[in-house]
Symmetry: C2
Subunit: 316 residues, 2 copies
């Protein structure tokens, strides 16, 4: 039977074959952004794309498409507790695209980029020869917020850390293609507030793009811990329950781990975005133990990457 | 009649709407790479993509596709007389792509990136929901070769400068999709040799990606000069005449302008790549004069961006 292609496998291949990158690469593929040390100066870089039919439906307002391509990247910058510097964009357009549509796509990128102090400084455009969907990739450059605050990685979590999220979860992407995933506010200001108030007490952070269950699994693997999520504590968006909160993607909230002794502000930044403690980290009881445990009515159950519960053979 | 979309128009729109980019953006859209000044440190960044059916034909060896996506960017780094630091890549793949094919694509990117000291430090992958071509964009980060050698822009040319190219031109892209465009060697080493030997005498530089006529036109506009090309002096690849040399794209040789008093080495770098003087720059005689003039049998004729000659109303 032919092997089936899966996105995650290819990302894992990129990560696992990332060898001999050079001494200036402090963090390679696998975190929200890569971290480079250029003779004492830290730079961060990462890329994210949006594809018609995958990340947005045909007919979506092009300015919102351009906006989303930028804000997905800004969310990655927030997740590293960094500050955007500039961005570049590459797009491939259908041959029959309306020039006005294409310009509005650029407007969406350009204006959003300026809004977050990440000016669009370069681009490449192409036209499909035959049929093909609109594709837009944006690469973001960022710097640490200040020399005393290095980037916050997803791998810095420790046993006994408390796990928190910003905002509330679930329901970002509606079946008709609309929803918060197009116009969310990346948590840049909130991340800066966290760094300012917690300093080195902020151990690990990432943004929630693929659903809490999946992303918590990634943070647990990167930090070599087991994560326990108190399902009843999850902050849910209107119309959502805990199942949507753990399994829906595209929330673009921050998931972060802090030292147990740390007091996390109840609200963050100019928007006074709320924070909620949703769980904790603990040592992996054994190498085969589940990475993520859901605590439901005082019972611990293994949670898979799609947010489904399973009877854990050995949850502890 | 509906307006027809053209790539160049959209790139011009990106360039022309690039306002309020911030004081740290020294060169925005429009050169081979953007130039940023981050508190005294210069960083360069740019993006280039390859799309199936546009930049390579279906069935092309995926390692060569990955290689080309990187080398196009390395060529831009050479054109700025800079040095690569790192790259990131985004690809979108057909739903039915063979996983082995996808991994070889990544291998092509990764190995080429390491070869040119631009390690692949991050990536994003996606799968088309319906039909769609393979698309791969690579963003390159670079630094100046040394603090005393700032990036060389395409806008630095001056009247009376002599115009040179590396290597020879034409025939890179054969009708069947094969040819030098897949396995060319970007002129990184040659650019470094030029900077070392000419210093500030090297006024302007760019790489030849869209054909000499088109690219010389861009350099002439950026440098506010008229360019005269001595057609008989053009170094042509086997099987090519001057017409192919001015109109074929994807040569990825360097086009550079030097002060008239400067002696350009006959060969450059470890490969001993030849250089050829092909023309000069002079003041625009009037604002409506042609940007590029071809000198053919002692007659000056206006050359359009496709390399075709026209009777000039006022060539001088």
């Amino acid at each position: 039977m032919p092997e089936v292609f899966r996105e995650d496998d290819l990302l894992a291949y990129i990560r696992d074959t990332a060898r001999a990158l050079g001494p200036h690469v402090k963090t390679g593929p696998g975190d929200d952004l890569a971290v480079l040390d250029l003779q004492g100066r830290t730079m961060l870089v990462g890329v994210d794309q949006v594809v018609e039919g995958v990340h947005f439906v045909k007919g979506t307002d092009p300015e919102l498409v351009g906006r989303k391509a930028v804000t997905r990247n800004i969310s990655d910058v927030a997740a590293m507790a960094a500050r955007p510097v500039a961005c570049v964009a590459a797009c491939t357009l259908p041959a029959d695209v309306d020039p006005g549509y294409a310009r509005r796509l650029v407007d969406g990128v350009r204006r959003t980029a300026i809004q977050f102090n990440a000016p669009l400084v370069g681009g490449d455009t192409g036209i499909h020869r035959g049929h093909g969907p609109l594709m837009l990739s944006v690469t973001i450059l960022a710097e640490p917020i200040s020399p005393v605050h290095p980037p916050v990685l997803r791998s810095g979590g420790k046993a006994d850390d408390r796990l928190h999220v910003t905002g509330s979860l679930g329901g970002s992407l509606r079946p008709d293609g609309s929803g918060h995933h197009l116009d969310f506010e990346p948590r840049l200001d909130e991340a800066e507030a966290l760094v300012s108030s917690l300093g080195a007490g902020l151990h690990a952070m990432m943004d929630l793009s693929d659903g809490l269950a999946q992303d918590a699994w990634r943070m647990a693997v990167a930090s070599h811990v087991q994560i326990v999520i108190d399902v009843a504590a999850l902050p849910c968006n209107a119309g959502c329950g805990w199942h949507e909160a753990v399994s829906d993607g595209e929330d673009y909230e921050l998931l972060f781990a802090v030292a147990a002794s740390t007091t996390v502000p109840k609200t963050l930044g100019r928007q006074r975005t709320k924070t909620t403690q949703i769980g904790l980290m603990r040592p992996m009881p054994n190498p085969d133990a589940p990475r993520v445990i859901g605590l439901l009515d005082d019972v611990e159950l293994a949670m898979d990457r799609f947010g489904r519960f399973h009877e854990a053979r050995s949850a502890r």
